[in-house]
Structures are given as C-alpha cells and as structure tokens.
Symmetry: C2
Amino acid sequence: MTLAQKAYDALRHDIIRGELPPGRPLRLADLGERYGMGFSPLREALNRLQAERLVTAESLRGFRVAPLSLDELHDATSLRIVIETEALKASIKNGDDAWASGIVSSLYALNVQAARTGPEADIWTLEKRHHAFHRALLAGCNSPWTLEFFERLYAATERYRIPVLLASARPVGRDVQAEHGALAEATLDRDADKASVLLEQHYLRTVEDLAEVISSSKGVPLPVRQTV
Amino acid sequence: MTLAQKAYDALRHDIIRGELPPGRPLRLADLGERYGMGFSPLREALNRLQAERLVTAESLRGFRVAPLSLDELHDATSLRIVIETEALKASIKNGDDAWASGIVSSLYALNVQAARTGPEADIWTLEKRHHAFHRALLAGCNSPWTLEFFERLYAATERYRIPVLLASARPVGRDVQAEHGALAEATLDRDADKASVLLEQHYLRTVEDLAEVISSSKGVPLPVRQTV
DNA sequence: GCAACAGAAATTTTCGAAAATAAATGAAAT
DNA sequence: ATTTCATTTATTTTCGAAAATTTCTGTTGC
C-alpha cells in the first residue's frame, strides 16, 4: 500500500468521523505532521477526496473539509431513496443464495452489536455493521454504478449521523433494530414493494430524527453553519 | 487556473473523446511530454479521474484509461433512467421560468447544429449542445447530488456514443431531434409522466442502437474488449 | 480612526531528483 | 529449448526545495 493510499484512508476516516470537522482548512504542513508524510501523497489523496465531495478545493487557496448543511442531508437522503429502493428491487429480483445469506449474517452481527451495553457497546463497530447490513441488502443488484453511488451517499449521510450518535442522542419512540429486522424479512421474502416502502420509511425517519436533533442543536457539536 | 486543473481538463477531454483509447497505459513520462508539465500536476489529475472511474490505477503499476464494456453501458444507462426520470419529475414540479427558458434555448441551439451539413456540421459542437440540452432538462431539480451523478453518468455513456458518432453511423429509422423536441414539449407542458416515459425511451433507443453498432463492430474503432 | 500600501510571513503549487518497485534482458544451468 | 536467476532498464512513488501566490502585519498618510 502506497503512502497516497494510506493518506486517502486516514483522511477519509477522520473526515467521516468528524475528527477533522466540517469547514476545517487542511493545511499541508499540518497534515504532513499528523500523518507523517510529505506533500505529494497528501495532495493526491486530497484530490481524490475532492472528487468525492468530502473535501473542497479552491485554486491556490488549498483544501478544506467539505461543509455540512441540512439542505444537503435532505438532498442526499432523497436521492438515496430513489437509488436504493430501485437497487433493492433489483437485488430481490436477481439475488442468489449468497446474497440472501449475506443479509442474514450481517443483520445478525448488527443486532448482536446493537444489544451490547457497557464497554463492548462501541459505536464504531455498530456503525461498521450498520454499513455492512445496508450494503448486503443491495449487493445482489448487479450494478457497479449503483453500488458506487450507494457508497458515496452512505459516506455523505454518515457524516450527519455520527455526531448525533456521539452525543448518544437516542431516537425517541423508535426501534431501529426492529426496522432493520422487518426490512430484512420483507427482502428475504422477496416482497419488493414492501421492502422498498420499509427502506424508504427507514431513511425518512432517520432524516427526521437527525434534522430534529441537529436543528435544535441540543448537545450535538455539529458545525452545520460554516462561517467561512 | 493551476497546471493540475489543466491536466485534469485535458486528460478528461482526451479520454472521453477516445483520443486516449480505453485500456491505454498512462505513462507519466508520455503525459509530461504530451501536456508539457511535470509529474506532480499529472498525478493529481489522475487521482481525480480515478475517483471518477475514467481512469484505473494499480498500486505501483500506474494508471490506465478505464476500459469500456457493453455491460457497463447497460448498467450506466439503467441508472441514468432511474435517476434522471426522477430528476425530470422534480424539475417539472419545481422549475421556474429561467429553467423553462434554458430548455427552450438549448433545444433551439441543438436543433440548429443538428440541421447543419458540410463543414459546419461538427460533432463536437453537436455533442456539447446535446449535453447542454439534457442538463437543462434537469437543471430545475434543485438537487446538487443528482446533478453530480448526472454529470458522471453522462460522461460515462458519452464515451460509448462518440466512437459511433465518429464512424458517422446514423441510427436507422430514428429521428433523434424529434425525440428531443417531444421531450422538451412534454416537459414544458409540465406533463411529468409523459416526459419521463419519453426520456426513458430516448435512452433505451440510444443504448439499443449503440449496442447494435458496437457488437456488430461495423467500422467502429471501439476497443470494447480490452485484452489486459 | 482607518484606508492604502509595502514588505514579511505563510501557504500552495510545481519541479527535479532520489528512492522504491516492477519489467525486461540476457547469461548460466539443465 | 527452457527455466532460473542476476542484472539492467523503465516506471512509479516520494521527498525536499524552489517558485508562485495568498495572507498577515505594520506603517504611512489623511
């Protein structure tokens, strides 16, 4: 693995987790210190991240962590619904046993982690398994372009969920794991219409909860307003 | 404009037009000669293009122009239909007068160019106006994410159309400009259902024609099969 | 006080060379 | 003839410094 790839992974990781907060200028000298490398691999990584909209760039003025906004959250969620309900239908149509098994196992792992309390309850493992579950649902769609856009939008929306998770703001009156279970069940039953509706509702509820918590700004250190 | 931006524009241009054919290794020494610059800006541009899937990269083995395949053409077209029919509906719902005017003017410019013959009939102007027309249709959707994916998929599918255009393989039994006209008319009439169907048919016919010409390979210098 | 400007400092961008790795070549052995 | 291995060549990757540009700071003039 080259240094440029390590830089890409590390920067992406730190941006998505909010360790590099939205709007933060990404100075090459700082990054070189932080990740222990020279400018070349860092600039290559930043260029990739710019193409993925996780970083913004301005000519001769360097790079910044891409800002967040409620508008973007709604936009990304709407598009996720369009793309993923279609991908889910395609998966239900085309998915084989390996695809179905993937859903079962990733749902199991997700539920196990969601049930943990105390020191084992770490949100990074939970988040990783949540991602794996949603990817498993669509894995049968047989469309590389769809899967790429899924990953892009997942990363984009993950940036909004993580600060809320970190503030341990639990959604009230909502059993997220039950939603995942019902979604998996309808999918494995090959009930495309039901599964699509459940997926859409899952995302709409999530964005509602997030928008609620973020706009009331109760204890969530989310710099939605970037004063440039 | 920095050299890295120039490199990005030039490489993107040459890849989409097929002047750098699919699968071609992109050696830094060659590119440095071709575009008159050093390695740094070239590598930055290549990293952006890699993120956009116009270029492939292998660790320590450099970059290549991304290959083409009929599978990818079908995949990209299917996803375009999903995303763009939805975006068109949203535009019809939200679009203002400026949006509608944009459709009228871009359609006019496209038709003018399509009618030209002789020395004025240049496919690059035609292609540019075709792109502008399709972008104008969706410009009212008010969704930056949708527009980004539109641009990605437009570029991806443009790579398949251009070799066919260059071989001046005219689609038989098809009046493409009439399709554009009908599509614009339904859109301006705010008939979302009709416009969506017309857009879908427009893409399905195009991919049919392309697949026909490409797989029969009649005079189309399209290296669909990349022997790596 | 503050606007305009000059100079200094900080920062990005680019180059040229060095280091690291892969690919090609050719000699030796079987 | 073919494989194996060492050597050379080609190529990518990375660094460190130079060049270009922006940003900051303090001074002058009003």
